[in-house]
Each structure stands twice: as C-alpha cells, then as structure tokens.
C-alpha cells in the first residue's frame, strides 16, 4: 500500500503525518467497537462477535500503520536519551544557567 | 443486602473450589518466577 508510508527516516518520523491521524481515528474506533462487541459477545449474541471481530481487525490495521513509525522514533530518540537525561537533572538541581 | 447472600444458591460442584483457585495460583506463581528470573538477569550488570 503506497498510500501508507512503511519506511521512515529519523526526520520524517519526528513530523506529524497522515499515518498519525489514521492511527488516532482507528484507535478511537477500535475502543468503541471493543466496548460494544465484548459486552454483546459475552451474552453470546452473533452481532457482538461481528462487532468484536471488526474491532480486532481495526486494531491490527492501526498497529500495521503506526508501528514502523514508532519504531523509527524510538530508535532515533534513544540515541539522544542520555543527553536529555543529563539536561533533565540539570534543571532538577537548578544547574541550568540563563 | 446481606439477605441476598444465601448458601443454598451456589452453582457448580464443590471440587471447582479446589481446582479453579489452584489453577490460578499455579499460573500466578509461575508468572512471578518468570518475572523475577527475567528482570534480575537483565539487571545483573547494573
């Protein structure tokens, strides 16, 4: 699916793109469907299983879209995390000079 | 509310009162052992 980016550079991964918006919309939708589907499935209603199934599919789709980006963000961020931690402790200990 | 809780309304064989808690206890115990081993090993170098 060329419409959904699968390979990310560090710079691209730090931007907010359409994949983030898709993930958000699918995430909210899956929560609604999982809520309704679980309750109706526990009562063994066929419509409940259908709704739950759609909710699971949407969750998988959400993961498929956003995971490559999250992996890139994490990998790149970790390279700088040590430096950021030092900066954090400087603020904590009032060692930042203005 | 306590009047609702009557002994003669129980569903299921009494042996379930041994099997189910025992099963869940074993699962929890094994999970605890796994967590302890995994994270102690991972943090050994620190």
């Amino acid at each position: 699916m060329g419409f959904i980016r699968r390979e990310w550079t560090a710079k691209e991964a730090d931007e907010w793109r359409k994949e983030d918006w898709f993930a958000i919309i699918l995430s909210a939708s899956s929560y609604v469907l999982l809520t309704i589907g679980s309750a109706l499935s526990f009562l063994l209603l066929p419509v409940g299983f259908v709704i739950l199934g759609i909710g699971i599919i949407i969750t998988i789709l959400m993961y498929w879209i956003i995971d490559p980006k999250l992996k890139t963000i994490s990998t790149e961020y970790e390279k700088k995390q040590k430096e950021y931690l030092l900066q954090l402790e400087e603020i904590q200990k009032w060692e930042v000079e203005k | 509310m306590m009047s609702f809780i009557l002994a003669n309304t129980r569903i299921g064989s009494p042996v379930l009162g041994i099997i189910l808690p025992a099963l869940i206890f074993c699962i929890s115990f094994l999970l605890t052992v796994y967590l302890l081993r995994h994270f102690m090993k991972q943090n050994k170098d620190h």
Binding site: T35, I36, A39, T59, S74 | R10, G17, S28, N43
Partner: protein, 643 residues
C-alpha cells in the same frame, strides 16, 4: 456474615503471601536509585506498564460504580465508564510527547514546558495537589474495602481500611515501583480471571445469555423514584404514564395510593421485595390497570426509594412518568422520555432523545468529545497523573504508546464483561430501587453463586484488585513528595541512597495520611469531593490541551486557568443557580459553560503576559516534538540548526 472454612483461609493466606512476595522480591532492584524506586529504571517492556494501567484502574469500588450505572442504564451505562478512552488518542499523541520529555511526573513536566517563576509555581502546585489527591484516593479506595469487610465480616470500617492498605505498603516500602509494577502484573492476571469467572457465574445464575435476552423482552417497565421528602403526610397519590411524543395518556392509577411520613422499615422492605413479581410478570392477580405498582393498597414513605412498575405498551418506546398529589389537577414529572419495557437494556445506543431522558444524544456526544479529544492534552483526565508514571517507566517511546493503549483496551473490555453479569443480576433482582443496593450486584453474584470453597479465593481476588490500586497511589504520592518537593526544592544535591530513603519515608507518610483521610471521609464528603474533582477537570480540560498543542500558552495562562476554575465552578454549579441567575444545568452543559467562562480569563492573561523564553521552548520542542501550533518555535529551532 460470610464465614470462612479452612479451605477459604488457606487460599487467602497463600494468595496474600504470593502477592506480597512478588513485589517484595524486587527489593534489590528498587533500592538502587530514585529512578529505580519510582520508574523501575525506565526499562520496562510495554506489557508491564500496560498491566499496571489495567490493574491500577481496577479497584474495589470500580465494580460498585460500574454495576450502578449498568443496572440503571443497561448497556448504555458502559458509556459512563468510557471516559478512559482518552487513551485512544493519547497513546499516539500526549503519551509520546510526555515520554520524550523524560519528566518523572506531570509536575516536573511543567518546568520543562514552561520556564521561570511561573513554571516553578506550577510545579509546586501540581506536586502539592497530587500528594493530596493520592492520599484522598487511597482513603476513598481504602474505605470501600472497609465497607466490603464490614458487609462480609462485620468488621469496623477502619479495620478493612488499615489492614489491607498496610499489606500493600509492605512491598512498596521495600521495592518501590519495581514492586508495584511486578505485583500489578501478577494481580492483574488474578483479577482478570476472577472477574471473568464471577461474571460467567452471574450470567449462568440468571439462566444463561439467551434467558437474559428473552426475559428482558418479557419484563414489565420500571422507573426508579425517590418520593420527595416534603410530600404531605397522608396525601393521596396518583401515577400517570403517557407517550412522550404524542402526550397520549397510556394509563393512570385507577385508585390513589397513600404517602406517609411514619416510616415502618419492615413494611418498606416487604413492599419493596414484593415489587419483584410485578417486574418479572409473575404476579397472580389479574388487573387491567397499566400501573402495577404502586396500587391503592400501597403506602409509600416520603424520602424513600421505590421502583414504579407498569406494563410495557407495544410500539411505545419512550414515555413520561408523572405523579399527582391533588387528584390529578396537576402533574409533576418523575422522568421524561423514559424507556418503555426492558429490552432497551441490551442496546448500548438506546438514546432517549436529543436532550431529554436519562441517555440523551447531547450527553453522549459531550462524553465522546471530552473523552477522545482529551487525549491531545495532559491531565484532561485525572488518571493521566498515574499513567504518566507508567509512560515514563517504559523502555522506549513505542513501548510507552502500546502500554497506554493496551492497558486501557483491557479496562474497557473488563467493563463490558461486568456489564453482562450485571444484566444477569438485573434479571434476578429487577426490583431494586436504591443504588446502595444494586451497585453491590457484582459482589453479591460472586459471594452468592460461586461454589463452596471459592469464597476465600474470591476475597483473595478482591484483595488483588485492592492491592494493585493502593500500591500505585502510595508510590505515586511518594514520588511527587520526593522528586518534586524534596529533591528539587529541599536538597537538589541529594545522593541516590538519600533519595531512596526519603522515598520510603514519603511512602510511609502517604500511607498514614490515607488512613486519616479514609476515616474522615463520609458519604456526603465523598460525594462533594467527587463532584469537586469532576468540576476541576471540566474547567481546565481545554487548558490541559492548550499547554501541549500551543506554544503561546504560557505558565501564567495555565496558572490563571486553575485559579479561575476553582471560583467559576462554585459559581456555575451552586451560587448562580441558587440565586436564579442561571438554571440548574445538567452536568454536560455545565462542562460547556465552564469551558467558555474559563477561557474568558486565561486567554487574556496569556496574551497580556510575555511568552515563555524562546530558547527554553526550542529546547523543549526539539526534545519532545509536540503536535499543534508550534510554528515560531520550530522556525527558531531550524534557525539554530537544531532541526
């Protein structure tokens, strides 16, 4: 009372040892540093914080309030618990931003996002408020445990409050957050399995899923009614049911019933219990009257709760329920646009109108708006402060995102499992009029229907639910006290050992504080405080989003929104309606009004004060990469060669 056999004691003691042992065994890791004691060294895979999210938000009072809303509203009650869905968007937005900031707490984040005196004031304010909040939550949850133990064993309230929270404190004192999160995982598994088992039993006790659905189609209509306390003693009452759309009167009391101030408990209980057969359609007498209860033989006591019962009319979905005390000259609304019959309980989207009834579309839309869009902010939901610790303990940004998403998904599924069991409880006991009775429904199902020998195990499961919540809040409150107060303001040069010692001391102080809170929390105080929390969250909902997405929103704007909200919420909810300046509004309308009124204060304050220091903002932006309106900061960062 519930009595324990030898097997019950055996399971309870074994489970307590297992749960406490699981947490305490991580003592060596917890004591290494502040980062270990409060964030487990920032190295956890997503499934551990996820299970902690789930376990923490499953507390002893959770099945009580979920049962309350599902009993009253059917499956539509699930939406009352849907506010947790702020994590749907947060998992990929504010979680990501917060994790990148590396702040231990939301208070510390204030000094990264904002700068100067305003940032420090915010940090101090949020830290202080969180220390108080965690003690309050611990007291509230602890007292719920106390009430449960009082119901089951007849113990004084303080015993249940003190003993079990103290048991949780053992491994929190020893191992800090390492203990919390490991025990949460184990307790989460136990709790989930117990919830599933008890809920299955609840559905089976009602005859199974198909029986529940079939009976909901045949049961008569009900409406809860608290008889006004100022009704005249001896007055004669009539009831009327009419079609909400056409106002056609479907039926009314043929003969009046009587109101009385002379409360007779035995008669009240007998009457209330007798209503069950009317709802279940198993009453013997043949009557042409639409209204089955109350009839002319009944005496209704003022100030008491009753369940009105009438036959469901075919084709009428929504009805108005009214009463009269002047022989039908005037009618007073009990409930407008009330659902007819009982089959609506199976439909999670059984709306009662755009603005009317107990489940209006306007409420639902407002709830979705608050819940989902709140994920763009930090602190829009009170649970954010707990989640922030879990986010920061995850080993990567990716793990943080998935932990929040998955933990909340499990919370929502858990609610749905409970809901099915509560529908079963409704089938068995459809006549309960007071929330104090029906909200205990899930616990009743467990203690009543599980096989002999599982009572002790069920209590152990409840204990797992309790410990996972209290351990989190003890450690979280201690984190704010240690990191944000002691380390930042008192002893910035403290060694890691010293910080762990202070962490343990803070843990103990939070524990004792929670006991004091628990013993002074009464019914009215709890209601008042819960209300205060909701209103506080409502008024600063938008500022909590603005601080994340808008560069220009500064510390003074945010501070002024907190202060303004404290005053405005009193005005909107109590003072102005009392003087008739505005009507008493439903809660979702109060939310919108507070949003607007608060903005009229913090927006001018923001624009009339200077923006935050640009270098500080650039440093924050490069590290966290927030979404939204950050143009000038981004351009400056590019200019400085940082992007």
């Amino acid at each position: 009372m519930v009595t324990f056999a030898f097997l019950d004691w055996l399971w309870l003691i074994l489970y307590i040892l297992l749960m406490v042992g699981c947490g305490a065994l991580f003592y060596r890791l917890g004591k290494r540093s502040q980062s270990d004691f409060f964030l487990a060294g920032r190295g956890l895979p997503w499934w551990l914080p996820a299970s902690s999210v789930y376990a923490t938000h499953t507390a002893t009072d959770t099945p009580i309030w979920v049962a309350g809303v599902v009993y009253k509203y059917g499956l539509s009650g699930l939406w009352y618990a849907f506010f947790a869905a702020w994590c749907a968007i947060s998992a990929f937005v504010s979680t990501r931003i917060f994790r990148r900031s590396l702040a231990y707490s939301q208070a510390e984040w204030q000094s990264l996002r904002f700068s100067g005196l305003g940032a420090e004031m915010l940090r101090g304010w949020v830290a202080g408020w969180q220390v108080f909040m965690n003690m309050f939550i611990l007291g509230w949850v602890g007292i719920a445990m106390g009430k449960l133990c009082n119901m089951l064993f007849g113990w004084d309230l303080w015993i249940g409050l003190v003993i079990f929270t103290s048991i949780g404190a053992i491994y929190v004192l020893m191992a800090g957050y390492w203990g919390v999160v490991m025990a949460d995982f184990q307790q989460g598994v136990i709790a989930l399995l117990v919830i599933i088992i008890v809920s299955i039993w609840g559905v089976m006790a009602a005859g199974g899923p198909q029986t529940i659905i079939d009976k909901l189609k045949t049961y008569n209509s009900t409406c809860e009614w608290r008889v006004p306390a100022d009704t005249q003693d001896g007055a004669q009452g009539l009831l009327r049911i009419s079609d909400s759309g056409t106002s056609e009167v479907l039926g009314a009391s043929a003969l009046p019933f009587t109101f009385s101030n002379a409360f007779d408990e035995a008669r009240y209980v007998e009457t209330a219990d007798g209503v069950k057969k009317y709802v279940q359609n198993t009453h013997e007498s043949e009557t042409n009257s639409l209204i089955l209860f109350p009839s002319d033989a009944d005496v209704l006591y003022t100030g008491r709760d009753y369940t009105i019962v009438w036959k469901a009319s075919e084709g009428k979905r929504l009805v108005n329920v009214e009463y009269s005390t002047d022989n039908g000259a005037t009618w007073i609304m009990i409930d407008e646009n009330h659902q007819n019959g009982q089959r609506w309980r199976i439909n999670p989207l059984s709306f009662t109108g755009s603005f009317k009834g107990q489940f209006p579309v306007a409420w639902f839309v407002t709830m979705l708006f608050i819940a989902l869009l709140g994920g763009f902010g930090m602190g829009t939901n009170i649970d954010w402060y707990t989640e922030a610790q879990r986010i920061q303990s995850a080993k990567s940004v990716r793990d943080a995102s998935y932990s929040i998403w998955a933990g909340t998904a499990l919370v929502l599924v858990r609610n749905s499992i409970w809901a099915a069991a509560i529908l079963g409880f409704f089938i068995l006991f459809p006549h309960l009029a007071s929330s104090a009775e029906y909200e205990m429904g899930w616990y009743v199902v467990g203690f009543k229907y599980l096989p002999i020998g599982m009572v002790g195990f069920l209590f152990a499961g409840i204990l797992a639910i309790h410990l996972s919540t209290v351990s989190t809040h003890i450690n979280l409150g201690a984190m704010y006290a240690t990191r944000d107060f002691y380390h930042h303001y008192v002893n910035p040069k403290a060694s890691e050992n010293r910080l762990v010692v202070v962490g343990r001391l803070s843990t103990f102080i939070i524990l004792i504080g929670s006991f004091i809170f628990g013993t002074i929390i009464g019914e009215e105080i709890t209601q008042w405080l819960i209300f205060a929390l909701w209103i506080m969250a409502a008024g600063i909902w938008l500022p909590n989003i603005l601080q994340v997405i808008w560069w220009r929103f500064n510390s003074w704007g945010y501070l002024s929104s907190w202060i303004a909200n404290l005053g405005l919420s009193w005005l909107v909810v109590w003072i102005l309606p009392r003087f008739g300046i505005i009507p008493e509004l439903p809660d979702y309308m109060q939310f919108w009004l507070l949003i607007v009124l608060n903005a009229l204060i913090y927006l001018p304050v923001t624009f009339l004060t200077k923006p935050e220091d640009m270098d500080h903002l650039v440093s924050y932006y490069v590290m966290s990469r927030p979404i939204g309106f950050w143009g000038p900061v981004r351009r400056e960062a590019i200019k400085q060669g940082l992007l």
